[in-house]
């Protein structure tokens, strides 16, 4: 049950933009929210709202229970061995920064290496740049194949005994490339390095099993998986979370506070200083329930089928150049492209006039744009509520845009 069957669950999709039905194809930036998620947040504020882990009163107990239940749901969703390995954060960016500050900067010595790819989102690149600068470690980039894939023999060569950390997106937010996470984990572990996975574009779209992947850390965002903004997750292996230092200090995260020193709670609570994002966690829990009721395998099949259909339809327009893996290669549910002679911003404005929402720009991947040799690209990204009709609308709008600019340019 995907596509047209689930559209009714998403109130925002039932509207017109500039006189056309909304065709929302910017899901890699953020997804829309189904009614059960909106209702869970509303219900929490109307019935259970209180601060967690402190009040003895009934609402305090209910709020704590709701918050911790959300953690259990997320843990099951990614097959974490225990809920204590799920830390609630503001999102992928915060999760990755917490690893960079609390773990990487503690273990990195001058001359150590961090291995990443040039296709990483800025949030999985700048924290490592900064950690390298602060510790004297080196950032090493894996070479990319023309379609954005990496070769395992290059990884084996790049990862050495000096490598402490390998960080990579499971699915590229620009190219849609799917990286072989479990093989990367094996290579990293053989050299004593930890593998950090940016799951922002994978966890919302496919079944995730952190134990099968054997990644050491996984970061992802709630808002890209039908949850609210402002809530995300940091998963870590138990011994790594134990070793990792908190990033924020203050209320909620402490064990004993003395005048000159203090001790922390156990993970995950030592990483959740201050009043946590309770309603956000409740919303994320509801999003997980919703996604599981649809089925992650179904969602993955649906997004990939739409991406394949989009590739097929875009090939009908000879002026369209598509980036990333070609037809027949597994890819995430997104397609990045340019219309020759038309800047992605101009394209996006014309598509918006037809009700079609896509992303235009560098997608927080400036180094990758330089490799592709383009200042910007357009990206259409799909989710469970998109249909082939949405892609037909995209292609119709693209054809109109092409004619409009051909005419305008004369």
């Amino acid at each position: 049950m995907t596509g047209a069957d689930v559209r009714k669950d998403f109130p925002i999709l039932q509207q017109e933009i500039n006189g056309h039905p909304l065709v929302y194809l910017d899901n890699a930036a953020t997804s829309q929210k189904p009614r059960p998620v909106l209702e869970a947040i509303q219900r929490y504020y109307e019935h259970d709202n209180a601060n967690v882990h402190r009040g003895v009163h009934t609402l305090g107990a209910r709020a704590t229970e709701a918050y911790e239940l959300a953690r259990e749901k997320v843990a099951r969703f990614i097959n974490a061995p225990s809920p204590e390995q799920v830390v609630f954060t503001r999102g992928t960016t915060e999760s990755l920064n917490m690893i960079a500050y609390g773990y990487a900067r503690r273990v990195l010595q001058p001359g150590d290496e961090i291995v990443i790819t040039p296709a990483e989102h800025h949030s999985n690149l700048i924290p490592w740049q900064q950690a390298a600068r602060a510790t004297g470690a080196q950032l090493k980039y894996l070479p990319l194949q023309p379609d954005g894939q990496i070769r395992l023999e290059d990884v084996r060569q790049a990862v050495t005994d000096r490598t402490k950390l390998v960080a990579i997106a499971h699915v590229s937010n620009v190219l849609g490339t799917i990286h072989p996470v479990s093989e990367l984990a094996e290579i990293a572990h053989a050299r004593g390095a930890v593998l950090v996975v940016d799951g922002a574009q994978s966890v919302p779209h496919q079944p995730t099993d952190v134990q099968a992947l054997d990644c050491d850390f996984l970061a992802f965002s709630g808002h890209k998986m039908c949850g609210p903004t402002g809530i995300g997750v940091l998963y870590g292996k138990r011994h790594l979370l134990a070793e990792m230092e908190p990033t924020y200090f203050g209320g909620e995260m402490i064990d004993v506070v003395e005048l000159y020193e203090s001790t922390w709670k156990q993970p995950p609570w030592k990483f959740e200083g201050g009043t946590p994002i309770i309603a956000g966690a409740v919303g994320l829990g509801a999003a997980v329930d919703y996604l599981q009721s649809v089925g992650m395998e179904n969602i993955q099949r649906h997004s990939q089928a739409l991406a394949a259909y989009a590739l097929e339809r875009l090939a009908e327009i000879p002026e369209i150049e598509v980036y990333g893996p070609g037809p027949g290669v597994a890819r995430g549910g997104l397609v990045t492209f340019n219309l020759r002679g038309v800047h992605a911003h101009d394209l996006s404005t014309v598509l918006d006039a037809h009700g079609v929402a896509i992303r235009a720009g560098h997608h927080c991947c400036q180094p990758l744009m330089r490799i592709l040799g383009v200042p910007a690209t357009a990206r259409a990204s799909f989710y469970l509520y998109n249909t082939e009709a949405d892609i037909d609308a995209l292609v119709t709008a693209l054809t109109t845009a092409k004619e409009f600019f051909q005419h305008a340019i004369g």
Partner: protein, 147 residues
């Protein structure tokens, strides 16, 4: 939303055939600016003598709105006193805010008026003007009332 209001013929002409493209030289006033949210870039160079903009050139990568705005701007400010160029920048910004415009002062730039109805694109149109204002600061000249 009327696309024809945004993409006027004169805009597309400047986009296709930007005027004053290139560089003046190492001794010119140089400002490099980018719009980090979208990746548009511009290098603006001005040759200023006795307070007058003798030459203005730019190099840029960007959409039709940012390139045409830069192209028209260089045409408009060449030969003008820098103070007058800055006044024009203020008039242009006012137009982007949707305020009434002095068509005589803005001339061809009036073609960009439609951008004011596309809030997401205003930054594209003002990038070159921001570069001009930065160049003026380098030359020691500021807006009387700020930017």
């Amino acid at each position: 939303m009327q696309l024809d209001d945004l993409y006027r013929q004169v805009i597309m002409d400047h986009y296709q055939h930007p005027r004053n493209q290139g560089e003046i030289g190492a001794d010119a006033l140089t400002v490099d600016l980018r719009n980090p949210s979208c990746g548009d870039e511009i290098r603006l160079q001005l040759q200023v003598a006795d307070g007058v903009v003798c030459d203005a050139r730019f190099r840029g990568a960007g959409c039709s709105i940012s390139i045409s705005s830069a192209s028209m701007m260089t045409e408009a400010i060449k030969g003008k006193p820098l103070a007058e160029a800055l006044a024009l920048a203020q008039a242009f910004r006012a137009m982007m805010r949707g305020e009434a415009v002095d068509v005589e002062q803005l001339g061809e730039l009036e073609a960009l008026q439609g951008v004011s109805k596309f809030p997401a694109r205003i930054k594209c149109a003002t990038l070159a003007w921001q570069a001009l204002e930065n160049a003026a600061s380098l030359a020691g000249l500021e807006h009387e009332h700020g930017g």
